[in-house]
């Protein structure tokens, strides 16, 4: 067995591969053992290695998308808001003692209609990024968002949310002021709205912090954005017990727009300019604007549509449903 064949293979694959290698070495030593069995064993080993190589190639691709989704030069929520809405006015504070700047809320005009907007804000430049916790929100941020949801509900504004967060902020103050409950309450509020809700995943869709603002009748996802239950790094350190497996985890989690469309979790992929949104932010924003305009127009014309029930049915049918299990049995 040439070392060359297993060179650079990720260590989580090595144990299994080496087991097969030793088995073949042992077979070689049995005198008179040759022919078809031996060829079979070697062929199986080659297939195994090729399969691992394939997994690694796919992992490199999904990891590239993870990197793109986090690219600082990608347009962020404030860029989309400025480029899409006329006369945007932003609001502040949870009215309970805090303003979380990692979430922007406000009202703007699109195509003559008032639209309520909520979005994660990662900030630009190191100073802002630190001030905004890199887009990781405190419970107070979700409570601020709930205020604009209530306004959308009462005045009949369509709600648009822009998702771009590594996840809710894991800090002592956040936990002490009820991070878990704030996320759950935000999801609850989004299910309570009679107005249409539209979600655009523009970068990182990190776990509960993303989901809290992402309960949409229509969910669009930028080609190179991600949406995941946990960061690949976090997943690697828990399940692989090895942070170097982050690329493998990024593949296993199926967190890309193409994966999520196949899984039925999103409704549409918005393709990005060649090489990614960071190469042409202006064009990216125009593309998103045109999709938003179309979907809002479509929803405005659906006069008797029950958006609330639509959302409930959509989310309650994700995963296993009693009907499908009965079929299987």
């Amino acid at each position: 067995m040439e070392v060359e064949k297993i060179k650079n293979l990720h260590k989580s694959f090595l144990k299994d591969t080496l087991k097969s290698v030793f088995k073949i070495e042992k077979l070689k030593r049995i005198t008179g053992f040759s022919g078809v069995h031996f060829n079979d064993a070697e062929k199986k080993l080659a297939e195994k290695i090729e399969n691992y190589r394939k997994v690694e190639r796919e992992a490199i691709k999904s990891w590239r998308i993870v990197e793109l989704s986090r690219d600082e030069k990608r347009p962020h929520t404030p860029d989309y808001i400025n480029g899409i809405f006329d006369d945007f006015i932003s609001f502040s504070g949870d009215r309970q003692g805090y303003d979380d700047k990692s979430i922007i809320t406000g009202l703007g005009i699109l195509d003559g209609s008032t639209v309520a907007v909520i979005g994660h804000n990662k900030g630009s430049g190191i100073k802002e990024r630190i001030e905004y916790n890199f887009g990781s929100s405190m419970p107070q941020g979700y409570r601020k968002a709930a205020r604009i949801m209530d306004i959308a509900q009462r005045f009949g504004f369509c709600l648009v949310t822009f998702i771009d967060t590594p996840g809710a902020y894991p800090a002592l103050e956040a936990e002490d002021s009820g991070q878990a409950g704030a996320i759950a309450r935000s999801i609850y509020e989004m299910f309570s709205l009679d107005v249409p809700t539209i979600t655009v995943l523009i970068g990182e869709g990190g776990s509960g912090g993303a989901l809290a603002l992402a309960i949409g009748n229509f969910i669009m996802m930028l080609e190179n954005s991600t949406y995941s239950v946990i960061s690949p790094e976090g997943c690697a350190s828990i399940l692989w017990r090895d942070s170097s497996a982050a690329k493998l985890a990024s593949r296993a989690l199926k967190l890309t727009s193409r994966d999520l469309l196949k899984l039925g979790v999103i409704d549409k992929i918005i393709y990005e300019p060649m090489g990614g949104a960071q190469n042409n932010p202006g064009r990216m924003i125009k593309i998103v604007k045109s999709y938003l305009k179309n979907i809002i127009k479509k929803y405005s014309n659906l006069k008797d549509f029950d958006f609330k029930t639509h959302r409930a049915q959509k989310y309650e049918s994700i995963g296993i449903t009693a009907g499908s299990v009965q079929q299987k049995l």
Partner: protein, 263 residues
Amino acid sequence: MEKIICKKCGKNISEEDFIGNLKVCVHCGFHDMLSAHERIKITADPGSFTELAKDMHSVDFLKFQDLKPYSERIEEAIQKSGINEAVVAGEAAIKGIMASICVMDFNFMGGSMGSVVGEKIKITADNSIEKNLPLLIFCASGGARMQEGIISLMQMAKTVSCIKRLKQEGLAYFCIITHPTTGGVSASFATVADIIITEPGALFCFAGPRVVEQTIKKEVPADFGLAERNLKNGLVDMIVKRHDMRDVLGKLLFMFTNKNLNP
């Protein structure tokens, strides 16, 4: 006789004393984990429990493989826990009052929430709505099940949606936090209950203490996320000892289903 070593104070307890004391340490009062069926046994009126969707099994939507394939991990969990998934669902009477009930079991893949847990909570909530019953959920979970990726994250939305429908029907929902309850379960159906009860010393938070320490690069206080701190912070309604739980639930169920003043 078998000796049990308390996970908290490290002292020896005879197995007989430990079981007799509902798996609460006789020295320090530590409430050790119970399996779902142990919990049902000490909570429900004898013989009143009927199970719903007992045979529902997980599906490997993502063909997920870390160091082991997900399908293998599920098989191991079934062998280890003796149940098919991380929640046991059904209905039971407590002090004579019928309720729908879900009990999570930490022995099954850390009580993690995948699509079966989500669907069983939906089935139980629907059972409540259909039969006009209050709902009780005993939580014990490390959070969303990573091996089901985004589908497990979506179960947070799914379960919250079901609870919202139940509450709109005017039905009561109590959540009982047991050690530990974190992540996706904390941030979904657990925290939208009418009443949140916790066992003493139970960890109940979104991000666990180690994750927080890694982020803020500081040690967290020893009582981080624990019942007593959560009570002080207004995040739970009350701390109830295991021995008193059945009584308290019986009283609450009576008061919430007592419609005397309703027109």
